[in-house]
């Protein structure tokens, strides 16, 4: 067990080092922006892996919390734009077009950037806390929990599109100022933004790892495998599940804020069904029971997606290929790339392992076939 943790730490460290050193090789602003975008999506994948892979909660509405974070940041950056973009009295342009005469109260606190950053984490967590309390308090699990998360996200999306005067409606919030901390401005097309994203990714990766290794993390994994038994042991299952749901939402909120900084807008598509299901895909491809696997899954899938959609020949067929690849992954690699990698590694080193380990390999292989 100890050896396994060391290997894991080494792998996680190497991954973080690799993404932090990438700008030394890449000095193209456009590419840096693209890679920063992929890294943000990797953060969302980590957040879903935490709740799905480690606690067994399939959240089909993960994009909802991602979107809330994104809108928090966009609101603050919108209020920071120079008056050219924001109409009279610092009112955002789309409000002027919708005949709103004064800044709605819900927008007022977003004049403060620190508040926005706080809200970008706290609001998604609060949102998830409410849903978690609602679902898990009623002992709703599996498919029904998944459908509730999906439905709640659709409702949020409908409301945001409908309330055009306050949210920018279908167009979202565009023409934003740059994110600034002290003297440092984070231009979306610069190494500084890339580093900001990469550091956040590294921090969330290790935060999530610490949680999974803690006692809470172990209880959560036990809940995933045998919920009833854990309940009989006297643990408050609903509280543990709500906790991980909230942490996962907070991380997704951070990713959402970073996404706004990288993309320079917020849009209702950030909390849509297609994006939400894509997150599930990334995590499934990478391996839901590995945080690093989920992150790498997101990088690989979005990377291939980006590369294929840019090339002339694959522009129209990439979605077809992705769909096919995905079905194959689900059929033959239920534990994703991370699971396949683990089995491969164990086979190579199996001569040094005890027979009990080999039995485990056997069962894992059996699950593959």
């Amino acid at each position: 067990m100890h050896g396994k943790t060391t290997t894991q730490l080494a792998l996680y460290g190497a991954f973080c080092l690799a993404i932090l050193l990438a700008p030394l090789v890449v000095d193209n602003a456009f590419l840096l922006n693209k890679y920063a975008r992929y890294l943000v999506l990797a953060i969302v994948a980590i957040s879903l892996s935490l709740s799905w892979g480690y606690a067994g909660i399939l959240n089909l509405g993960q994009a909802a919390t991602f979107g809330i974070g994104s809108y928090c940041m966009a609101m603050a950056l919108k209020l920071k734009t120079i008056p050219v973009h924001t109409g009279p009295d610092g009112l955002p342009d789309f409000m002027v077009w919708n005949n709103v005469t004064e800044l709605p109260w819900i927008w007022q606190p977003f004049h403060s950037l620190p508040f926005a950053v706080f809200a970008g984490i706290a609001l998604p967590s609060l949102f998830a806390g409410l849903i978690g309390w609602f679902i898990f308090g009623g002992r709703i699990t599996g498919v029904y929990a998944a459908i509730i998360t999906l439905a709640v996200m659709v409702v949020l999306n409908l409301v945001i599109v409908d309330q055009q005067a306050y949210t920018g409606g279908f167009n979202g919030i565009t023409d934003l100022a740059q994110f600034e901390v002290g003297e440092v401005a984070f231009d979306a097309y610069s190494a500084s933004t890339y580093y900001l994203v990469a550091i956040c990714l590294a921090l969330t990766l290790f935060l999530a790892l610490v949680i999974t290794k803690s006692k809470v993390g172990l209880v959560l994994q036990a809940i995933r495998d045998q919920e009833e038994r854990v309940r009989f042991f006297g643990y408050d299952v609903a509280r543990y599940k709500t906790f991980v749901f909230m942490v996962s939402a907070g991380i997704a909120g951070i990713a959402g804020m970073l996404y706004t900084i990288v993309m320079e807008f917020a849009s209702p598509t950030f909390l849509s069904v297609p994006l939400s299901l894509s997150i599930v895909i990334w995590v499934a491809v990478g391996g839901r029971q590995s945080l690093l696997g989920a992150a790498i899954g997101a990088l690989i899938v979005t990377g291939i997606q980006g590369a294929l959609s840019e090339s002339e020949a694959f522009l129209d067929t990439w979605t077809l290929i992705m769909g096919g690849l995905f079905v194959i992954v689900v059929l033959v690699m239920p534990k994703g790339l991370a699971g396949a990698g683990e089995i491969l590694a164990r086979r190579i080193f199996s001569s040094q392992r005890s027979s009990s380990d080999r039995a485990e390999v056997g069962s894992a292989v059996e699950r593959l076939s």
Binding site: L58, I147, A151, I281
Partner: protein, 289 residues
């Protein structure tokens, strides 16, 4: 009076479309436990079949219903044989795999037929409207209502009165016991999946003259269909009918007082609350564990 009747008719029209779309899903989910996220895409394929048969072969919508059912039946058969049958013991993974299938179907249609909106013409014999108690209603919408009820009756008959239905119910209650009594559960599952896909295809074809046809049309249908099935109770055909009636009337009513978007949001919220307190659905007293 006119207003009330026309309001009820609007609701019934929404309900009949909901039921057509949910029926296929209810059959598949209720019997096999597969969460078919590609269901909306099957509906979409049905609509495109109607469009192709009408524009390329000059077939009227009513005539093309039979080949459309056959085509989608075969489609469902193949999907089950190639992919779904490997996933019966992993229900959550069926969500993922069927989503992949849906993405592929959507993109394939976009490549073959183009991404723009398509329109299917109503059968000329049904393009007039009828006055009922002072309220006018398009006769095509009434026709859809009749077909929806007819398909429901047919499904109920198969489920309750045929030997196929008997085997089906036996498998639903206990697959291993049914198998040991000689019921070929793999075959029944495949036929069920194919039948569900065929019904979904019919739904798509029937809906196509009322809404525009596009590769993305399935996405919203699948969410609606799930809500109907979950609300009605997974293994209750009557539950599916009742819940589509309730949701249809409710959507119509709420849309009358506010707008379509808010109506939809409120209906979804209501369903969320209902799932929370009655996950087994409104019309089911006992469920398979």
């Amino acid at each position: 009076m006119d207003l009330i009747v026309s309001q009820i008719l609007t609701g019934l029209s929404i309900a009949s479309i909901l039921m057509l779309i949910a029926l296929g899903l209810a059959i598949i989910y209720g019997v096999t436990g597969v969460i078919n996220l590609a269901h909306g895409e099957v509906v979409m394929l049905g609509a495109y079949c109607a469009w192709v048969l009408q524009t390329q072969f000059g077939l009227s919508l009513l005539v093309s219903l039979v080949p459309i059912f056959a085509l989608l039946f075969v489609f469902g058969w193949i999907i089950e044989a190639v992919i779904i049958r490997h996933l019966y013991d992993r229900p959550l993974d069926t969500i993922l795999a069927t989503w992949g299938i849906g993405v592929m179907a959507q993109q394939a249609v976009r490549l073959l037929a183009g991404g723009e909106l398509r329109y299917v013409e109503m059968p000329p014999s049904l393009s007039s409207s009828i006055t009922i108690f002072g309220a006018t209603e398009s006769s095509y919408r009434l026709f859809v209502l009749v077909v929806a009820v007819g398909l429901f009756a047919l499904t109920w008959y198969i489920y309750r009165k045929t030997s196929f239905g008997l085997k089906l119910r036996a498998i639903t209650q206990n697959r291993s016991v049914a198998s040991s009594f000689g019921v070929n559960s793999a075959r029944i599952y495949r036929q069920t999946f194919a039948f569900g896909a065929g019904v979904a295809g019919l739904a798509g074809a029937l809906v196509s003259p009322l809404k525009s046809v596009s590769p993305e049309m399935g996405t919203s249908y699948v969410v609606d269909a799930f809500m109907v099935v979950v609300l009605g109770g997974v293994q209750s055909l009557f539950g599916t009918m009742a819940s589509s009636a309730i949701l249809g009337e409710l959507s119509g009513l709420l849309a009358f007082f506010s707008n379509d978007t808010i109506a939809k949001a409120l209906v979804l919220l209501l369903i969320v609350v209902l799932i929370r307190f009655r996950p087994q659905g409104l019309f089911v007293t006992r469920v398979r564990s």
